[in-house]
């Protein structure tokens, strides 16, 4: 069964890589037909990826969220599903694929290199709060990834449409000209980060409630807890600067990107270091 799961993951990676390649080629060489195929191929990739997760659910007899293999795979799958749901309603989100697809491929790379062994879930994990906590961790990742993607595109746009770069660039032919306006990119980044912030808060609160019911303590300065809190504070700073002090531009956008990198570190990076209470979940 493990071989089948790995095989399905590789199949999904193949589709994601093909989709990303189509996207990059379609954008830089202006092949609109390829652009359409990019999202179709990635959507096809979601199928074997989803089947692999479904099989894991069936075999393990529990929701597949425990251990690096399951946790990261689910993170990527749900992140992509969120992206496709948003894409269906808002065309502008098409552009975010340039960051989302490569990030997903990289994380899936970690998945196929980690052990697919099914781990037993400890007693303290058999609770309703586990589902809430982990579901919102994935939603946090999904929305903040899209927010970070828009932030990167906004910085790219800003770099090529202001100052000397704008003067030497031929207008109306490049990738930058086809991007939505800087204002629109910035607003979409803010919107996704705002939603992501709410989900991050739910993740932290549900984790605290779970910890309290399992171990009698809301907070224990566990590394993942601490780094999630740091990311939350950075997002809080971003939102205060953006919303109340009305900051716009490079600095505040970079704060949003840094906050996402902190989220990635808390959800993924710490699994390779000392993750404290979360070590079994992320290892």
């Amino acid at each position: 069964m493990a071989k089948l799961e790995i095989g399905l993951h590789w199949l999904a990676i193949t589709f994601y890589v093909l989709g990303t390649a189509c996207f990059v080629i379609g954008i830089y060489w202006r092949k609109d037909g390829l652009n359409r195929w990019c999202h179709r191929l990635t959507a096809i990739g979601l199928l074997p990826h989803g089947i692999a997760l479904g099989l894991r659910w069936l075999v393990a007899g529990r929701i597949p969220v425990y251990g690096r293999f399951e946790a990261f795979s689910g993170l990527v799958w749900l992140g992509l599903v969120i992206y496709f749901l948003l894409r269906r309603k808002y065309e502008v989100t098409d552009w975010a694929a340039i960051v989302i697809y490569p990030t997903s491929i990289l994380i899936l790379g970690i998945v196929v290199m980690s052990s697919p062994e099914i781990k037993e879930v400890p007693e303290t994990f058999k609770t309703f709060w586990l589902v809430v906590h982990i579901l919102f961790a994935k939603l946090t990742y999904g929305f903040n990834l899209i927010g970070a993607a828009f932030a990167v595109l906004y910085l790219h746009k800003l770099r090529h449409t202001t100052g000397s770069a704008a003067l030497i660039r031929q207008s109306g032919v490049s990738f930058v000209d086809r991007l939505p306006t800087g204002e629109e990119l910035d607003e979409w980044s803010y919107l996704c980060i705002s939603c992501g912030f709410v989900f991050l808060t739910v993740m932290i609160i549900s984790g605290s409630i779970w910890a309290n019911s399992a171990w009698g303590s809301y907070w224990s300065w566990d590394p993942v807890e601490t780094w999630s809190l740091i990311a939350w504070l950075v997002y809080g700073l971003y939102l205060h600067l953006r919303r109340t002090l009305n900051w716009r531009g490079v600095v505040v956008t970079w704060i949003g990107i840094i906050a996402f990198l902190l989220i990635l570190f808390a959800l993924i990076g710490l699994g390779f270091l000392d993750a404290g209470m979360h070590s079994q979940y992320l290892a």
């Binding site: 629109e184 705002s194 019911s213």
Partner: protein
Amino acid sequence: MTKNNWLRRITRVIGSVKLASVLLAGLIFAAFYASIVSRSAFSSWWFITLVVMLAVNTYACTLRQWRGAVKRYKQIREGRVSGKPVTVDLPASDPADALATLAKLCRAKWYAVSLQNSRLVAHKNAIGVFGSALFHTALVALIFSAFCGVITGTWGRFGVSERFVFSEAADNYVVFEPSVFAPQDPRRFTLELEKLLVETDENGRVQRFASQVNAVDNKGLRKTQIIRAGSPLVIGGVTIYQHRYGYSPIFTLVLKRGDVIDFIVELETFGEPDEEQEYSGHLVVPGTSCPGYIRFYPGQPVKVAVTIEEPAEGTVTSGVLALGEWLEFSQGRLYFVDWRYWGSFTAVGDSWRNVTFTAFWVALGGLIAMYIINPRTIRATATSEGQVQITASSCRFSSLLQAEIRELARQLQSIGQVLT
């Protein structure tokens, strides 16, 4: 400058968002430093001072926020929002009729609509303006109650073996020892671990564990309950959580000089007990002061590996013992006579817990109101030039509002109310 002016100025500085941003940045660097360099910094005076300063700032901000929120709420109900407006002019064959249809479409999208004299005013999600104030109020309450909980509450961890008789408690109960974190003496209960229940699968891996306990509070009220993960026992104002479990091998030491000593060694597990772990620990052999080391193997048959060092003799004696077997060393014989499960519990006494818990949920509700419930208004007028002019505003996310207005215009076009 009058005294009132000074006060107002100080309150404005203390409650400013600029100060909040500086404090937030400071807290980020402090948490960053503490998590990398030293975790003890989280309980240092400067970290707590930063948190308290942020709480004071948030409190001062919140006072001002409520006033502003009430004002904005009234404005939205009158169809006025200070956000960036989205304007659309739609040519219509019968503008008044198109306006009536627009009113219907708005009602279908949960807008409160008023239509008078060829003028439509619609608003939605006005309650969202209270989100920020609600969130920040709950945040202050959360920090305050957590702080009070730490100061006035108790927290401690204790271990107890199955049916074990502690020498200092002749009545067969274990007395809770307060931890260093809780200066108060929380001896409000006694607890006996009657049985530790461990369920394993066919491979011998632990599926569940729970503790059947008898507890008595300080008024003599007796309670028998099974404590499992997520299902604690509440007694004498203290909540007792199952923390983890381990094994307690029981030994009888027969010394050559004639003494017979029974003793038990509690071996705590590290991490969750269903993993492959070491059940091991150091001991001092009673009556001899010899240091030793024990490793427990809970398989079938149960075994225990014992190492005893005798520095005076310069010898190290070790052996693996099954039940009933003994290890001979220079000062006597150590018999492995029995073993029991051992439970570790966390006891928490926090009278502020309900306030903290409620503040959690209120903060979450405020946050959802703040970012998900976006207050917005639509104003539309039917002009004599055969046009419907729509102006919409929202507190945030004008892109979403643009998409909504575009959708409304498309719907009006599709039912033939406005011209393409």
